[in-house]
């Protein structure tokens, strides 16, 4: 009889199986923004295109002294891994009083994947979209004239 893989042990298994944290963020994504009309963002980043299969939008608000991310919202046309990765990224960007913009520019897929307790190797590229969109959003904010 074929042994059924233990889905809870997927972090030890280089396979397509997802960790519990990935599943949690996929089924209950944090910080998704549906209605951007009523959201006042300081910066917006868009990467990918529907024609390529994935598209990601990230909105950020920064704190008063313009050094930290105060809020991070996102929406994607993407797969489970892109959803879970970006959900986790939005949590990392805003926890503990918000990430410094300088540090957020260095947020890497590896850091996000570690917090997700792993991601199938074939899905690494899905974790790239979120941090690129975040970086675009920071660039967008920094390109605006100071008010």
């Amino acid at each position: 009889m074929t042994k059924i893989p233990d889905i809870n042990a997927c972090h030890d298994n280089p396979s397509w199986l997802y960790s519990d944290i990935v599943k949690d963020h996929f089924f209950r994504p944090r910080n998704v923004l549906i209605d951007e009309e009523n959201y006042q963002s300081d910066g917006v980043g868009i990467v990918g295109s529907p024609a390529c299969g994935d598209m990601m939008v990230v909105w950020i608000q920064v704190n008063e002294d313009k050094t930290r991310i105060k809020d991070c919202k996102w929406r994607t046309f993407g797969c489970a891994s892109a959803i879970a990765s970006t959900s986790m990224m939005s949590v990392m960007a805003t926890e503990d009083g918000g990430m410094l913009l300088k540090h957020a520019k260095r947020l890497s897929p590896e850091a996000i994947i570690e917090r997700l307790d792993g991601l199938p190797a074939q899905k690494y590229h899905c974790s790239v979209l979120g941090h690129q969109a975040l970086r675009e959003a920071i660039e967008d904010f920094e390109a605006k004239p100071a008010t």
Binding site: I46, V47, G48, S49, A51, C52, G53, L100, K102, H103, K105, R106, L107, S108, P109, E110, A111, I113, E114, A121, Y124, H125, Q132, R135, E136
Partner: protein, 236 residues
């Protein structure tokens, strides 16, 4: 906004074999040459071959140079199709894109940890910093399987001769060292950390195959370097 629609046409004006598996294409813009930041990549699209969105290749020379150099490792149908192009042929790319570059105002120690063809964006940055006489201390840890697979060794050695702030460390994982400027074995996080002038300030760029990037990121993070001092570009 990042889109992968081809926006630039280039003529292939030179091809240079760098190693048995890596060949550089020298591209001349047919219309205007786009500006780029050293460390960025372009996405190449070939009709009816590979993914519709194309594949990304890092630029391996510096922004001040007249031509654009793309260094491609032959490892599948797509890269083979690109390298089958002849001198004079036209190829299409996106605008340069990516964030794998140091901030120009930073002066802290810069460390590149590179596996194989991951050298391309790092070489672009090193060439740019050397060209602009940037005094920022730079350390390169460059891992390859064998001596013949070290792409751009002569170019790096030449830069280091004129720029003593650049320190080069070559690693060979599948060859006993025959030449004194290479180290046998894998580069380890401990070796990198122990070489740092100031562990709290160094900025480390890791670039290579996904497993290499993931393993070095994890090792350096476990060695006490916070995530914001570690930045990656994984090739997949």
């Amino acid at each position: 906004m990042n889109t992968t629609t081809s926006s630039y046409q280039w003529k292939i004006v030179d091809k240079k074999v760098e190693t048995p598996t890596v060949t550089s294409l020298y591209l001349e813009p047919i219309s205007e040459k786009p500006n780029f930041i050293a460390g960025q990549y372009v996405t190449i699209q070939i009709p009816n071959i590979g993914p519709a969105e194309g594949k990304s290749y890092s630029i391996s020379n510096a922004p001040h140079e007249a031509q654009l150099r793309i260094s491609i490792k032959k490892m599948g149908n797509f890269s083979t199709a690109i390298l089958n192009h002849q001198l004079g042929d036209t190829i299409f790319t996106s605008a340069p894109y990516g964030f794998f570059y140091p901030e120009p105002i930073d002066t802290n120690e810069l460390v590149f940890v590179v596996g194989g063809i991951g050298i391309a964006p790092c070489l672009s940055i090193i060439k740019h910093l050397a060209h602009t006489n940037n005094p920022r201390p730079i350390k390169l840890f460059y891992s390859n399987k064998t001596t013949v697979e070290i792409a751009f060794k002569k170019e790096l050695d030449t830069i280091a001769q004129d720029h003593p702030q650049l320190s080069l460390n070559y690693y060979l994982t599948q060859e006993e060292t025959v030449n004194t400027d290479c180290i046998t074995g894998r580069v380890t996080p401990e070796q990198i950390v122990s070489s740092l002038d100031n562990k709290a300030e160094a900025e480390i760029f890791i670039c290579g195959a996904m497993d290499f990037t993931k393993s070095l990121w994890k090792g350096l993070h476990n060695a006490g370097l916070p995530q914001h001092q570690l930045y990656t570009e994984g090739f997949f």
